[in-house]
Every structure is written in structure tokens, then in C-alpha cells.
């Protein structure tokens, strides 16, 4: 195994654990690279003051490959663990990596309320539209009509839009990008890292093994090309008519970037007010 570093962002990987376990052509590796590229651009972040927390699923294996203090939690529970860590150590930058099933199904309630409290967390949801680790079952973000092992005749439900949910629930930064738009993805994650509050980034990634194969989406490269052909930058999307927003087109970009009271800050003010010695 060649542990030499070719690119500076590689220093954030646990090189002795690569290659990662994701399938050939899986988009998770691209999204993980975008995260470390964003961390590298952030002048204050380093391996000692940054923590990576993940749930369970394909996405959540990312934490094991990243050379920080890392925590691979239970299914759906990354956000409560992250909340505890952030409250205990507000000086640490806490990044959460989750998946569409992990974050919006089993962890849905935590997602809503962690947004609501606006904890200073940067959450990156790897959306592959399916439960990959368990072999391709439908997720809340499987588009209507698309197939999975548990929707063999096509998903009947409308997919969840976590960006809209995050906005409604009180997140202060919300963005979406794709594995095709690598640099854009790294950029929106970097902006998320700069937001002092709950920052949410949906990274659309290809799952060629389960989602792609079930839905005849072709090779991993074909799935990336699909993202290229269907993603529309927000500025252009906003100018489109409703008729133009048909088909499988979807917007990418920054949907919300604002500031609001952050829970930990408010709590520290309370401690100050009550004369509690800072611990």
C-alpha cells in the first residue's frame, strides 16, 4: 500500500484504511473528498479541533476513513450524539455525515429538532435515494415510481425534500449539490462550515449497485451524467417557469444562508447570567 500523499487533502484520510469499502463507482467517495477539500480550505480547522460523526449506512462508513476524532453511531442517531459533543465542547467543529434513510427516516425526528435548536453543526446528507448497506430497499427519498427491493413495482410515495424540511425546522444554512458538481459541492460544504448554526448540505450521490441497477440508470458515469443533465443552478431555476420545472430536473445551490441564535451560545449566556463557573 502506497501511503504517500499526492494531494494535500489526502492528509485528512486514514490512508492505511483505503481503499474504502464502497462499491465501484459509488458516489460516496466523491462526496467524502469534497468534505475534506472544504475542511482544508477552512483556515481554523485541523485534525485536533474537528470531529466527524456519522450514523449507520453506506454514507456513515465515511467517518472511519477520516483522520480526526470520529464517531460511528447507531442508525439514525448521529445528530443526538453530535448535539451532546457540541454542547460539551463548543470549541470543536462538529461535522455530521448521514444518509437519506439514516437522516430522514429513522433519524427524522432528530433532524427536525436539531435544526430547530440551530446547533452549530455541519450536516452532509449523502443522498443515494436508497438503503444501500442493506441491499437496496426504498428510502423516504426514493423518487415516486422508482424501484427498490421493497418497492418492486415502483415507489408510491412522494419523496421527502430534506432541504425544505431543514428550512422549515429552523436550520440557518441549506444547500444542495451533486457528486458530478464536485467543486460546487466542496464550495457549498465550505460555506456550511462557515455558518455558525445548523448547516445542512444534501449531496446527491450515485448508487450504481442498488439504485442504478434497479432503475436501469446505466454505469456510474451515466449516473453522473444524469446529475449533470438534470441539476439546475438555483439562479437559473428561480427564473424557470413551472412548466420548465417538469421531469426530473432539480435545483442545486444555496437555498438559505442566514443567522439565528445558536443553542450552545444561548446556553453559555445562561451560565454566564447565573454565575455558573465555566467548565
Amino acid at each position: 500500500m502506497d501511503d504517500s500523499i499526492k494531494r494535500s487533502y489526502e492528509k485528512y484520510f486514514r490512508l492505511n484504511r483505503l481503499p474504502h469499502l464502497w462499491c465501484p463507482g459509488c458516489g460516496n467517495g466523491i462526496a467524502m473528498k469534497a468534505i475534506v477539500m472544504a475542511i482544508e480550505k477552512h483556515p481554523e480547522l485541523n485534525k485536533d479541533n474537528t470531529v466527524i460523526i456519522s450514523g449507520i449506512g453506506c454514507s456513515s462508513r465515511a467517518s472511519g476513513y477520516m483522520d480526526f476524532d470520529t464517531l460511528h453511531t447507531a442508525h439514525g442517531r448521529a445528530l443526538p450524539f453530535a448535539t451532546g459533543i457540541k454542547m460539551a465542547r463548543p470549541d470543536l467543529k462538529v461535522i455530521v455525515i448521514t444518509g437519506d434513510g439514516d437522516c430522514t427516516a429513522i433519524g427524522g425526528n432528530h433532524f427536525i429538532h436539531t435544526c430547530r435548536r440551530n446547533h452549530d453543526l455541519t450536516v452532509i446528507l449523502f443522498n443515494n435515494n436508497i438503503y444501500g448497506m442493506t441491499g437496496g430497499q426504498t428510502s423516504p427519498m426514493t423518487p415516486q415510481g422508482k424501484k427498490a427491493t421493497t418497492t418492486p413495482y415502483g415507489s408510491m410515495a412522494h419523496p421527502l425534500d430534506p432541504s425544505a424540511l431543514a428550512k422549515a425546522a429552523g436550520a440557518t444554512y441549506v444547500a444542495r449539490s451533486t457528486a458530478y458538481h464536485v467543486k460546487h459541492l466542496a464550495d457549498v460544504i465550505e460555506q456550511g462550515l462557515n455558518n455558525h448554526g445548523f448547516a445542512f448540505v444534501e449531496a446527491i450521490v450515485q448508487c450504481p449497485t442498488s439504485y442504478g441497477r434497479k432503475n436501469k440508470m446505466g454505469s456510474p458515469a451515466d449516473m453522473l451524467a444524469w446529475m449533470r443533465d438534470h441539476a439546475v443552478m438555483k439562479a437559473a431555476w428561480d427564473k424557470m417557469s413551472d412548466e420548465e420545472k417538469t421531469g426530473e430536473k432539480f435545483p442545486i445551490g444555496v437555498f438559505l444562508d442566514t443567522r439565528a441564535a445558536e443553542y450552545g451560545d444561548e446556553y453559555n449566556k445562561l451560565i454566564e447570567r447565573l454565575g455558573g463557573a465555566r467548565s
Binding site: R7, P19, Y180
Partner: protein
């Protein structure tokens, strides 16, 4: 502009993304299921392969022609 390609083949899973996005057909998947450079002299250092590789297995550096 010319490109110098470095492969970390122990990381390559042969997904073919780099070959598919290469505009100059420099790359191909070998019979062993891994990426190989079949036409290195045509590389224009566009970086598409490196950018899109999910496995950090291919890197391109610019070289003056």
C-alpha cells in the same frame, strides 16, 4: 498543455468513471478490471478523471508541452 498521470492502482476498483469522462480517450479499463493508460500522449491535463474518481486512485499534473 500536457498531463502526467499518476495511478494508485491499489485503490482503483475499475468503475470506469475516469475513462468515461476522459475527452481524449487516454484511459481504459484493463482486462484485470483496473484503469490503465492506453494513450498517455494525448492527455491534456483537464483533470476530469482526478476530479471524479471516487477512490482517489488517479492524479494528473500539468506539464508544459
Amino acid at each position: 498543455m500536457k498531463g502526467r498521470i499518476t495511478l494508485k492502482s491499489e485503490r482503483c476498483k475499475g468503475c470506469g468513471i475516469c475513462a468515461a469522462f476522459c475527452p481524449k480517450k487516454v484511459l481504459a479499463i484493463s482486462t484485470l478490471g483496473q484503469i490503465e493508460i492506453v494513450n498517455g500522449k494525448d492527455c491534456i491535463a483537464c483533470g476530469q478523471c482526478e476530479l471524479r474518481c471516487p477512490d482517489y486512485a488517479i492524479f494528473v499534473d500539468k506539464e508544459e508541452a
